[in-house]
Symmetry: C2
DNA sequence: CCTCGTCTAGTGGTATACCGTTAGTTCGGG
DNA sequence: CCCGAACTAACGGTATACCACTAGACGAGG
C-alpha cells in the first residue's frame, strides 16, 4: 500500500470518512465481521493476509487484533498467531452468570443516577423497538434492544462499569447472530418498558429485580441453542499451529 | 536500540528472562510503576521518550500503552498522546460500586465451582497473610490478601469474569499504594478466613454475603482518603496537549 | 522402515524511517 | 501594544524491512 492517506480500502471508508486511526477502523470492521459471522469462530487470522485484505499495513492491524483480544472476540497465541475466539456453550453460561450480576448493577445505578437526556434516549430506543416489532424487522428490533441496554449503562454514570460491559455487549450481539431464530418477541419490549419505568421512578430495587428476571428469562433458551452449534472443540494452540503450507498441500 | 534480542534493558530482564514479547514486558513494568506510584496520575507519557527510556522501539511500547489503556491505568487521547490515568474520588466510588457487585459474584461462583487445588492455594495465601501480619509487614500482607482474592476469582471458573476483574484488581492495588497508611489489619484476615470457609462449604449465599460486607467495610475509609489526594482536576486532553518545548522553556 | 537431524518457508516480533497533524512561536501588520 | 497568519518542531500514526522462532519437509543414517 502506498503511504498516502487517501488510498484507504473502500470497505473501511464507507463507515465514516476517516473516523479515527486505521487501527481503530480495522477494529470496528473486524468486530462487525466477527459478530456478524462473516468470520466464524475458529477462523485463522494471519496478520499479513488480513493486512493485505484490508489494504493496511500490519502495524494498525496488530493494534486491531489486540483490541479484539481485549474484548474476547479474538484469541492470540503468542508467537503463533490469532484466531476468531471460539464461542462454546460454556462461554454462554459464563456470559449469563456475569450478566445476571452486572446488568442488575447497571439497572440499579441507572435508577439512582438517571438524567433527562438519558431517559429520553432510552425511550426513543423503546419506541424504535416497538416500531421494528410492528414491521417484524428482527435486526432493527435487536439493534433497538441493544441500544436500550446501552442507554441503561450510560445512565449508570460509571465509566468503569461501561468499559466492563463492552466485552459483554459484544458477546450478547454475537450470541444474537449465532442463534438464527431472530423472531422479534414482544416480551423483550414489555420487560424493557418495565425497566424504563422503574429507572425513571428511581426505584433501584425494582429496576434491579426486573433486570435480573430479564437476563434470567433468556438464559435457558440461549444455552439450549448454544448446545447445538458447539460441535467440535477448537483448541487455539492447535488452530494457530497450522501453517498455510498445509492448506496448499490439501489443494 | 540495536535490533538484537540480547540488548534488552536490565530493568526488564530482572523480572523473568524474556518472559514474552517486549511489549508485554514493557506493559508489566509500566503497570508496576504506575501502581507503585513511580509514575503518578497525570504524568505525560511520550512514546519516543518512554521507548528510549525502556530501550525498546515505539512499536512494542505502543502495544504496552494500549494494554494499559484497556486496563484503565492509562488514558490515550487520539492524535495527542497518553498520560497516566487520573484516579479521583469519583473513580474510587465507581470502583466500589462495581466491586460490591462483582466480588459477590466471584465468591458465589467460587463456592459453587471450587476444587481442591484452588482451595489449597487460597489457604496458603491466608497463611501467608497471617504470617505477614505477625511480622507487621504491610506489603506482604497486602500481597497475600490480593493473592487470596485472585484465588477466589480463579475458583469461580469463569474466564469472562476473570478478564473483567483485571482492571478492578489493578485499581485496588493502586488504591492500596495511594492510601499510604498500610497498617496491617487483622480484620481483613478474619473476613477472608470466613469467606474461605463459606466457599469450602459450598455455601454460595453466605460467601456472597461475606464478600459484600468485606468490600462494604473498606468503602468509606477509602473514599475519605481519596478525598484528600484529589486536589486538582486533571483533564487528559489538556495534559497531553502540552509539548515538551514548554518544559524546556521553563528551565 | 523408522528415527533423528537439518533445512526451509511461513509467521509473529521489532526496529527504522517517513508522513500528517497540531501546538507554540515568531514576525509582520494594524 | 495587540492580534493574526505563517512557520517550526514535536509528536502520534503508519509503512517498509528485517530478525527470530517454529513447524512441517526432506534426506541421511540406523
Amino acid at each position: 500500500m502506498a503511504p498516502q492517506w487517501n488510498t484507504k480500502n473502500e470497505a473501511m471508508m464507507d463507515r465514516e470518512s476517516a473516523r479515527r486511526s486505521l487501527g481503530h477502523q480495522a477494529y470496528r470492521l473486524l468486530k462487525d465481521q466477527i459478530i456478524g459471522l462473516q468470520r466464524p469462530p475458529g477462523q485463522r487470522l494471519v496478520e499479513r493476509d488480513l493486512a493485505t485484505e484490508l489494504e493496511i499495513s500490519r502495524i494498525p492491524l496488530r493494534e486491531a487484533l489486540r483490541l479484539l483480544e481485549a474484548e474476547g472476540l479474538v484469541v492470540i497465541v503468542p508467537r503463533q498467531g490469532a484466531m476468531v475466539a471460539p464461542f462454546t456453550a460454556a462461554d454462554v453460561r459464563h456470559l449469563f452468570d456475569v450478566r445476571e450480576s452486572v446488568e442488575v448493577l447497571a439497572a440499579r445505578l441507572a435508577a439512582q443516577h438517571y438524567d433527562g437526556p438519558g431517559l429520553a434516549q432510552a425511550q426513543s430506543q423503546l419506541v424504535a423497538a416497538r416500531e421494528a416489532l410492528a414491521r417484524n424487522d428482527g435486526i432493527a428490533h435487536a439493534t433497538a434492544n441493544a441500544g436500550f441496554h446501552e442507554c441503561v449503562i450510560a445512565m449508570s454514570a460509571n465509566p468503569l462499569l461501561q468499559s466492563m460491559m463492552q466485552p459483554i455487549n459484544a458477546r450478547v450481539s454475537w450470541l444474537f447472530h449465532l442463534t438464527t431464530q431472530n423472531q422479534p418477541d414482544s416480551t423483550q419490549c414489555v420487560e424493557h418498558e418495565a425497566m424504563y419505568h422503574a429507572i425513571a421512578a428511581g426505584d433501584a430495587d425494582r429496576a434491579g429485580e426486573l433486570a435480573y428476571q430479564h437476563v434470567r428469562a433468556t438464559r435457558e433458551p440461549s444455552l439450549e441453542m448454544a448446545a447445538r452449534w458447539t460441535l467440535t472443540h477448537l483448541d487455539p494452540v492447535e488452530v494457530t499451529r497450522t501453517r498455510q503450507r498445509e492448506r496448499r498441500a490439501a489443494l
